[in-house]
């Protein structure tokens, strides 16, 4: 109502303003045209100085009611003629002013030139009254106001009527819609009041409510259905999940129950998993290494065979590494690298199984050592068989021979006696041989028998034992102060006595024996290849001036029953140096010999310093003992 009123007023105002402006412009144009007509008709009057004619021309303006005044000025601006002729001169401008027509308070007035063929002849002045126009506009205004008032009354009456027929049902419809939306109640229906468009709208609204109600029911049903489906799916998923968890745990248990180390790597050689055995072996937990590059976790593996093996497996190869020594644990493993492939046949995982074979390897080593020992025993046995076949047979043959001779010359007591003596000595010799062999074979190397031994004491007791022989041979034995060592006292005694006895026996001169000792390091010993470097040894040197032997037999002298000298005058079982060698070896030492025929022989004995004695060893020779 208000809007339409404003629109009406605005429209009227716009129309009024437009009319006003248009009317003024029209008047101005009309004035200009009128002026032009007067000017054209005044040219000759002005040109030929005919004021009467000019006044007549102006008088024609009588036809125009609104023209209140007019005037013509000559070319010099002097008043030439005026209209109405009776108007006092002071009502009219004395001289021409600004050209063009302008509105003053209640007039439209202005000046216009009078010219002929481009020659200025004078100026015209016109003044017209605006009262008419203003009257007209006043009338317009009154009509507009009345029209607006009538329009308002009409609009009010019509809207009242419309409200009854249109607005009221629509407002009721809106109320119903509000109830529906507020209470979510789609069973409410709007009341239809008429069969016009509003009635149709009401019907459509009610129909829409019915549709919504039906759809609501459908949606609720669908929702229920969907919820049931979701519940079913969720249950299925949970079951599948449970099964999967169980499966995963089962797999994990299998992995963790393995006694072998099992690790899985991805294609970038990053840990995917590590079983319990692996965690125990590396003393690390899974979560510390999963997703990390193997060489980042264990830098020792960077340039190891393990990374190479993994890379081979990445190419699809089943790799078996029989004896791999781990840089991490320093243990021996038999490693398997098994490539796992995805559906497309590309390697995506590598299972590494490391089977610890350290114990087997150690057992193997022991077995090999035992084997070596056994081989050695076998060799010794062969030597023993050799002894049996040669050396032991010799006295047996003698016994046989002299026994037969004794039978043959049983009636000759002198011969018989001589033969029986021979048999007796042969038997004696056999006894000695057997004793020596037994002695050799019984040489113990049990560590339990190792005690502290002062070698000086050992030497002194030997001098006592060999006193007669030394005296008989007129031998000179020099020695310095020998160290105290750990060893088996009887064997060391045997070692020394054998060597000294040999020096006394195999000598055609008055024997001179020098015994010296010193500490050496394995690094400084060149003549014994087997010697252990960095180990400290006591080096004991026995040198004599005996018959000696060719150096080429140096290795043979230590073999059992090896006799270089067949000289019957020199007694011997051929087992002495073999015993010496065995004793030295029992003490984890080494014995070597240097000899030159007719000059003499020197034995070098290296005994490891097993336990450093409190008695300090001295190199001095000031305590030389000369046995006489």
């Amino acid at each position: 109502m208000l809007t339409s009123g404003i629109v009406l007023i605005m429209t009227c105002a716009a129309f009024f303003v437009y009319e006003y402006i248009t009317a003024r412009e029209t008047m101005r144009r009309q004035m200009s045209t009128l002026g032009q007509i007067i000017a054209t008709n005044s040219t000759a009057a002005l040109a030929f100085d005919n004021q009467q004619d000019a006044a007549e021309t102006l008088n024609a303006l009588k036809a125009e009611n609104n023209i209140r005044a007019a005037a013509l000025y000559d070319v010099n601006g002097k008043l030439f003629a005026k209209y109405p002729a009776t108007i006092p001169a002071f009502y009219i401008p004395a001289h021409p002013g600004r050209l063009g027509y302008y509105f003053t308070d209640s007039y439209l007035e202005g000046f216009q030139v009078v010219e002929q063929d481009g020659t200025l002849l004078g100026t015209i002045f016109l003044r017209t009254d605006m009262k008419d126009m203003y009257h007209r506009f006043l009338l317009y205004g009154i009509i507009a106001v009345i029209f607006i008032i009538i329009s308002f009354i009409f609009a009010w009456v019509i809207s009242k009527k419309l409200q009854r027929t249109i607005s009221t049902p629509i407002l009721q419809l809106a109320d119903t819609a509000k109830i529906v939306s507020d209470k979510q109640n789609y069973s409410v229906r709007a009341v239809k009041r008429s069969d016009d468009e509003v009635g149709l709208l009401t019907d459509a609204f009610n129909h829409m409510l019915t549709r919504i109600g039906i759809q609501n029911a459908e949606i609720t049903g669908l929702n229920q259905n969907l919820e049931n489906k979701v519940r079913d799916r969720t249950r299925e998923l949970e079951m599948a999940n449970e099964a999967l968890t169980e499966q995963t745990e089962f797999s994990r248990n299998i992995l963790d129950s393995s006694v072998d180390l099992i690790a899985v790597f991805d294609t970038d050689l990053r840990y995917v998993t590590l079983n319990k055995r692996g965690e125990e072996t590396y003393k690390i937990t899974q979560d510390k290494i999963i997703g990390r590059y193997v060489a980042d976790v264990f830098p020792q593996t960077l340039n190891s065979g393990m990374v190479d093996d993994l890379k081979r497996a990445l190419k699809g190869e089943f790799v078996r590494h029989v004896n791999y020594i781990s840089g991490v644990t320093k243990r021996h493993y038999e490693n398997f690298y098994i490539p796992l492939k995805d559906r497309d046949g590309n390697v995506n995982r590598i299972v590494t199984i490391a089977h610890d074979i350290t114990d087997i390897m150690q057992a193997n080593e022991k077995l090999q050592a035992l084997n070596a020992e056994l081989e050695k025993s076998n060799r010794e046995l062969e030597q023993f068989a050799y002894v049996a076949s040669h050396d032991l047979q010799e006295p047996l043959r003698k016994i046989q021979t002299f026994t037969e001779l004794s039978e043959r010359y049983i009636d000759n007591p002198d011969a018989l006696k001589r033969y029986l003596e021979k048999v007796g000595s042969s038997a004696q010799r056999m006894t000695e041989l057997i004793k020596a062999v037994l002695n050799y074979s019984r040489l113990s190397k049990s560590e339990n028998d190792f005690v502290e031994v002062d070698l000086n004491n050992t030497l002194r007791s030997i001098f006592v034992d060999l006193e007669l022989l030394i005296h008989e041979k007129e031998a000179v034995i020099n020695h310095n102060n020998l160290p105290v060592t750990y060893g088996i006292p009887l064997q060391l005694h045997q070692l020394f006595i054998n060597l000294i006895t040999n020096s006394l026996k195999f000598n055609e001169r008055k024997p001179v024996i020098n015994i010296t000792s010193e500490y050496v390091n394995g690094n400084d010993v060149n003549d014994v290849p087997e010697i252990i470097k960095h180990r400290d040894y006591i080096k004991i040197t026995f040198s004599d001036n005996g018959i000696g032997f060719d150096q080429k037999f140096a290795d043979k002298v230590f073999s059992i029953f090896q006799r270089l000298h067949a000289d019957k005058r020199i007694e011997g079982t051929g087992i002495g140096l073999a015993v010496c060698k065995k004793i030295v070896e029992n003490h984890q030492g080494f014995i070597t010999v240097k000899s030159e025929p007719k000059i003499g022989t020197t034995f070098f004995i290296y005994l490891p310093v097993l336990h450093m004695s409190s008695t300090q060893f001295t190199k001095t020779s000031s305590t030389n003992t000369q046995a006489v």
């Binding site: 000759a44 030929f48 004619d53 070319v75 010099n76 063929d117």
Partner: protein
């Protein structure tokens, strides 16, 4: 705007007449053959003794009519007149002869002579209430093949 021919209350008779002579050029039309080429002069002539002094020259000087420069020429006899558009005839007693001599030419003839229209002259100056007025012989103008503006006719007396 052009230089304005001036006549004031104090203007002499011949000053006013000189201005009228100039103004005739705006209220009459000459046939094209009389006007000739655009650069050909438009001649305002005086036949006989010149009464204007310098007034005519002052008004005409520098003016143009339809592109034709306006010039003032003075003639002693009709024989001298070859080309002329407006001619003021001031030969007392010999006016009729002069007009006869000029018959057939497109020349606006003007004179103070009382019998000028009767002789066949086109425009006659006369004085009424101390104002200079015009009398036009329309037949003569037609004979000279000149067209007179109705505006001019309205303020002039028509010779019958």
């Amino acid at each position: 705007m052009m230089a304005i021919p001036a006549f004031t209350q104090k203007a002499s008779e011949y000053q006013v007449k000189a201005a009228f002579l100039f103004n005739f050029s705006k209220f009459l039309e000459w046939p094209p053959e009389a006007m000739g080429e655009p650069n050909e002069p438009f001649v305002v002539g005086v036949l006989g003794k010149d009464p204007f002094g310098s007034n005519l020259d002052e008004i005409i000087a520098g003016e143009k009519i339809m592109g034709h420069p306006m010039v003032v020429r003075r003639f002693n006899s009709t024989e001298e007149i070859d080309k002329c558009h407006i001619l003021f005839i001031h030969v007392p007693g010999k006016t009729s002869e002069a007009l006869n001599a000029l018959k057939g030419k497109s020349i606006l003839t003007v004179s103070d002579d009382e019998e000028f229209n009767a002789y066949g002259g086109i425009i006659k100056f006369y004085t009424e209430n101390e104002m200079i007025r015009l009398e036009i012989n329309i037949q003569a103008a037609k004979a000279a093949n000149l067209t007179v503006s109705s505006k001019l006719l309205r303020i002039a007396k028509i010779y019958e």
